[in-house]
Symmetry: C2
Subunit: 237 residues, 2 copies
């Protein structure tokens, strides 16, 4: 089975939802047959690239609320994070995540995408590290297992993996995503938001049961060469 | 979009079908949104691991035909390969492919799965190299971009990636595969055999049109935290 998860590193419910999905997956008997890929989504593509601003300032401006009200909003999210055993700091920085997504594509090519995403989440939400600082990014990426010279090359070339990031963002829109996290199972089920773990487990079960042998068959067998138990059939000419 | 291709390195129609699929993909306008993953399938899990036997001998025994008849069968497949610009040798060796599939999983982890599969196909069908020889395997795997020490480690440990290979073989059966190549698009369309390129292009178009926004939505929105254009909604408690 194939699970795609669209998320943004700046998205608290993506951080929390990933933990809930993982709890649901752990309770799913066929978990070893599940392949997960993380896809790109930017909540705020216009966010400043270099320095960023404090999240509490961003929230106060965005919602037109006081600093205390912004803190109260964050406290509710922090409660949800704590419920999953996750640290959550409200003194983190809000900034642009395009470069982080480009690095996650490099991570996918090296088989360390998930380790890198976890490291980004931890750096942002648990440690409030400045992800707009290229030196910090480089350190996290190398720590997750990426070769330093490839990380430097990707960060130096703004077009590296840019097309891949944008293609995945278009794809989320085409699939009907209105926000993130957005979980897609076998391109048949869509789960929006950081749902309870049980929702993920149930949907995995359902997709597993529904999916077996239910593909729509395409093409004429007599035009195709096929190899099976009885050897290779050569199509009629 | 997500395409999975189940195939075996010992399968002539997988070799030919891959070229036809690629021609169909090249003619598909949204080809940059297509992600391809190659999955494991063994046509002959009982085939000898070490040395293997000449393919023509295997065919004569399997079908109870003369050597000349086996050569005539192979000549028809060679014609189809030539139609795709592929070299095809009938003096190749038939052997076990389990270790090759394990290495293809290592290749996936390093982002070079496709390069490695192409190299295996070329070594087997175009060059008739003995893939049962670990030194040959190592050379091909390193040439495709894998670190020599990891290749050696996987070849030395028969359980490395073994579970992954078997899980994908089970999955092919669950999806209704009766042979290979078996192409699955977005877990909704199944294409058996090395169909003409046009079948692949048309099915990609159809899946692209059908797939947009057609996911079945799961879960209650009010139990989920979701971040979108308007910020992050906190579910009611």
């Amino acid at each position: 089975m194939h699970v795609e998860i669209w998320s943004d590193i700046a998205c608290p419910w993506c951080y929390i939802g990933k933990a809930r999905f993982e709890a649901g997956l752990a309770a799913f008997a066929q978990r070893d047959d599940v392949e997960v890929v993380h896809r790109s989504f930017e909540l705020d593509p216009e966010a400043p690239a270099a320095a960023g601003i404090p999240v509490l300032d961003m929230l106060a401006t965005k919602y037109g609320v006081s600093r205390a009200q912004a803190e109260a909003m964050e406290a509710r999210v922090a409660d949800a994070a704590a419920g999953e055993g996750l640290d959550y700091r409200s003194d983190r920085i809000h900034g642009n995540t395009f470069d982080l997504h480009r690095l996650l594509h490099l991570g996918r090519a090296h088989g360390v995408q998930e380790a890198l995403l976890d490291a980004f989440y931890r750096a942002n939400f648990a440690e409030a590290r400045p992800l707009g600082d290229p030196a910090v990014l480089r350190g996290i990426a190398v720590g997750a297992g990426l070769p330093a010279e490839e990380v430097a090359r990707v960060l130096a070339d703004p077009e590296a993996y840019a097309q891949e990031v944008r293609a995945e963002e278009r794809e989320a829109a085409e699939l009907g995503a209105t926000g993130v996290p957005f979980f897609v199972i076998d391109r048949r089920y869509g789960i929006s938001g950081g749902q309870p773990a049980e929702v993920f487990r149930e949907t995995l079960e359902r997709a597993h049961t529904d999916g077996a042998g239910k593909l729509q068959a395409v093409g004429e067998a007599d035009e195709a060469g096929l190899c099976g138990d009885d050897g290779c059939a050569v199509p009629g000419k």
